[in-house]
Symmetry: none
Subunit: 138 residues, 4 copies
């Protein structure tokens, strides 16, 4: 059985492949079921701000159990969770690019991507999440 | 006379009972009049983000002396307290689920619940606050 | 099978019983295998500083995989890990009262106690750890 | 010319190889000349505390321009830099396992390893630093 780290590296490779295709350097991070970092990589010339954002998107997806893009609407002014992004020591990221990793119906980790437009970040994160599903045979 | 801790544990038990009835695992926290934790419990499979949020809802209710749901409107863009949630080291939570504990007309603590929808969090927090009133014979 | 939270509450009860016997109010905290809080309780009149210390003793025991009392010597001036206590956002506590929880040879959590002398803290933490072994049938 | 990220991944692979040989799971991190993370990996079962320490050893080696093991003596009570470890938001690690990366006489990055004894951490970090020298043809 592949290690958690090997799986994370394959997921990151899948996201990087998409990032290279679209020509935008990204930071890609994976956390485990406890919210702790397994692996993180910053592609050359990726935005420095993305080091924190990618990791915290991964954390948020795990800690809230939804893709981070689902939070944008829920946290808008007037919506139910307005203000969520300043909780938990500001680790909660409320725009797209973080996806929970689900195995046997349980959230067991998260992947986060940052560096491009939100749509690009989501596209790369989805490639990583798809790779995870392949790796666990889902 | 029951200890503060025993009272907090009974309040948490009351909130947990509701959480079990509605089938959503919660984190429930109680703070005293100094804003310091008395007790906190994370039900199995509760969102990790809720560990911080439940405690800070309890803190906010005590520190601002209103239920946290009252802050959503007051902190909306254009409203009087816009930006409150980023003060006090971002411990201020501005959506529902935190309730101040009142004894003899004085705020003496707070209870906070996180893990479900805001309505569910409020429902659990109210069960805890009601238990507090029973315990002090109010 | 008992829930993680129920186990933590039984561990805390075991530590509290010892704390009451020796007449010193304590804070007792339990974290899971990801280092996240499961439950924490502050006995009436326990030192406020202990809220942070108990939780971080539990975290340290999990994160370093040794009882925290083993770190005192290792972190003394001139010793190998001098300076360890200021790493990891100062969450590393290097005096006794934190014990890793071991199941099937793997560290799956930690318990931390603070409020008395180090010897008293250790005594209470050991009662909690012993309860954990009973609960898992070790 | 290889990318910074590719170089970092080769350095981490070299450190991991040594970690596997000595049978101790490690966290290995690389930062660039700005002190920002390029890549970080946590081997399965590595100490959670090492996530922060490995990154900050890499940062410290870059930021102070010496191997972190050189700081232990300099920061001892009575020595010139006593207290250095609590500066810079406690990012300064003063025991071995962080090594500056030097190119053309200039410090251009740092590598940090944490998870074993200090001697083991240093051994792995040296393997990474040696790989860096190979990669730049030094």
């Amino acid at each position: 059985m592949a290690s958690k780290l090997d799986n994370a590296l394959e997921m990151i490779a899948a996201a990087k492949k998409v990032a290279e295709e679209i020509g935008t350097p990204m930071v890609i991070s994976v956390v485990d079921e406890g919210g702790n970092m397994v692996a993180s990589q910053r592609m050359d010339d990726a935005l420095l701000v993305s080091v924190d954002i990618a990791l915290n998107k991964a954390y948020t997806a795990l800690a809230v159990k939804v893709p981070t893009e689902a939070l944008a609407t829920a946290c808008a002014p007037g919506a139910e969770l307005y203000g969520l992004n300043t909780t938990d020591n500001c680790r909660v990221v409320i725009f797209g690019g973080g996806i929970p990793l689900v195995q046997d119906g349980k959230v067991v980790g998260g992947v986060g991507v940052s560096g491009g437009s939100v749509a690009q970040d989501v596209q790369c994160a989805e490639a990583a999440a798809k790779k995870f599903e392949e790796l666990i045979g889902a």
